[in-house]
């Protein structure tokens, strides 16, 4: 039995590897989208203009309050029916990236609020513009305090990426590969455990990276 367990991996290694690769691609692209859009929206939410604040708030409420699976349906069958020739991969990373961005924005916003208001006032009075104040003074400090909550979001995003493959996008990601192999070989438990091992590799690496960032940049207490 233990040998059969290993056989499931060795006999289907190429397939598992392709699935792992797809999941890595999904996660990396979604991460870039989530971090950049999330930071931008957080800046909107703490901006002095009430209109920017409103746009930021609307974004967060819209993307945080709609289930990811529904976003996928809007982004793929929905857009395609509206005449947009979007590919399954792009629809997938947009859904996951923009969804995660709403949470990232909230985390960063709370980080910005942890930097005292006096610093913004001081910076503005020294002649920095608002974007400069954000980029040079507030955000670097804010990021320090939000490394840990951001880390949790990244790990959640890695796991959420499994929803993309199981959905109508029909992407052959890691979990999907496990399911295809399970349905073909009937080695259901080994196939899913190997898929789980793949996710553990990714979340484990993410955890290590976060821990390093924390020890490097964390506020000394």
């Amino acid at each position: 039995m233990p040998f059969a367990f290993v056989d499931t991996l060795t006999e289907n290694f190429d397939e598992f590897l392709r699935g792992f690769g797809t999941t890595v691609e999904l996660v990396v692209v979604s991460f870039v989208i989530a971090m950049s859009v999330g930071t931008l929206i957080a800046a909107f939410r703490v901006a002095p203009s009430p209109w920017l604040q409103r746009i930021g708030g609307l974004y967060v409420e819209a993307f945080r309050n709609v289930p990811l699976l529904v976003l996928i349906f809007i982004a793929y069958p929905g857009l395609r029916r509206a005449g947009v020739e979007i590919s399954a991969f792009v629809a997938g990373v947009l859904s996951l990236g923009l969804y995660t961005a709403a949470y990232v924005a909230e985390a960063i916003r709370s980080g910005v609020f942890s930097v005292s208001k006096g610093q913004i006032e001081a910076s503005l009075s020294l002649g920095f513009t608002y974007p400069q104040t954000m980029r040079r003074i507030i955000l670097p400090q804010a990021f320090r305090t939000v490394i840990s909550p951001l880390g949790s979001l990244i790990i959640a995003m890695i796991k959420n990426s499994a929803i993309l493959g199981g959905s109508i996008l029909a992407l052959n990601d890691l979990l999907k590969t496990g399911r295809v192999i399970a349905s073909r070989t009937f080695e259901v438990i080994p196939a899913f455990l190997w898929a789980a091992a793949g996710y553990l590799i990714l979340t484990g690496l993410a955890t290590l990276a976060i821990r390093r960032l924390e020890t490097r940049y964390a506020v000394k207490r």
Binding site: P77, A182, S183
Partner: protein
């Protein structure tokens, strides 16, 4: 101020409790099916401790069916119950046992695990009998033989059969026999595997796949819903459907075979066929007479 807040909490709790009750009622009634159930006149009693005796003691048999594959198993929005060819057969098995059928949804890749872990007693979900599955579960004798076909949009002139699928996106269900059949017969086709045929239909309609390949009856069900689709090419496979039963439970297998034989002999099969398939396809019922072993041989030729 304080009172209003408490009232709001109370309303929320009441709402949740009431919602909970509603769920219970739903799961209790289960499926039902529109089949003409024969009155349970002569019900044979089975000994306690045997698989059939256990089901009789429980008073219900849990049957896994498709919820989205008309005309075999689908949720009828007007009655709120699951109906179809498979559901009628399940009802017949339950009637013969003198128990109530409880229909649960079984998708292509969870139905065999459902049998193994005891979630379902019987699977009637357009399941093709093939060699790999015969190693995993018991099958009843075939109760229906479907033919594999290809469905495309009416304005598609590029795809005319299985040999023109190269480079095209083709949708089929994860865990179905078409995964293997298509890999053999159309190795250059790009397979899109999804959980359910309704997702395949959506993908074909919105243009993200070029074709769907699966059983003719399922594809006919799609054409009934959307008449801008058409079947193309010759049949690429024969798919004998059998009821799935947990490995080693030969008692239930023989019982189900008995029910199916009776169903075919007393004319109920023809009626059920006409109701779910015949009236849409203008074909006569042809009850299969082959055994499980012959069905396995038939399916082997598909890959050829």
């Amino acid at each position: 101020m304080k009172t209003t807040r408490w009232l709001a909490v109370l309303a929320l709790v009441l709402g949740l409790v009431l919602a909970g009750c509603g769920d219970d009622e739903d799961s209790g009634s289960g499926g039902g099916g529109g089949g003409e159930s024969t009155p349970a006149a002569e019900v044979e009693k089975f000994d306690a401790g045997t698989p059939l005796g256990d089901i009789q003691e429980k008073g219900e048999i849990v049957i896994g069916v498709k919820y989205d594959v008309p005309p075999f198993g689908f949720n009828n929005p007007s009655s709120g119950k699951v109906e179809g060819f498979d559901v009628d057969l399940g009802q017949a098995v339950a009637d013969k046992l003198g128990v109530k059928p409880k229909f649960i949804e079984a998708i292509s890749d969870n139905r065999i695990p459902f049998l193994e872990d005891g979630t379902a007693d019987l699977i009637l979900s357009t399941m093709t009998i093939n060699e790999e599955r015969v190693g995993q579960i018991e099958f009843s004798d075939p109760y229906y033989i479907a033919k594999g076909r290809i469905l495309v949009k009416e304005d598609n002139s590029e795809i005319t059969g299985v040999d023109t699928l190269g480079g095209k996106n083709v949708c089929t269900a994860l865990g179905s026999t078409y995964e293997a059949t298509l890999k053999k017969q159309a190795p250059d086709a790009k397979l899109k595997l999804v959980d359910s045929y309704s997702e395949c239909l959506e993908s074909l309609q919105n243009g993200s796949v070029d074709a769907i390949s699966t059983d003719d009856v399922i594809l006919t069900g799609m054409i009934i819903q959307d008449d801008t689709l058409k079947l193309v090419g010759d049949e690429l496979s024969q798919e004998p459907y059998g009821a799935g039963i947990k490995k080693g439970n030969t008692e239930l297998k023989e019982f189900v075979d008995g029910v199916f034989t009776e169903y075919k002999d007393d004319g109920r099969y023809d009626k059920t066929y006409e109701k779910w398939v015949g009236q849409y396809t203008d074909t006569e019922a042809e009850a299969p007479t082959i055994s499980v072993d012959e069905a396995v041989e038939l399916v082997k030729q598909n890959a050829g």
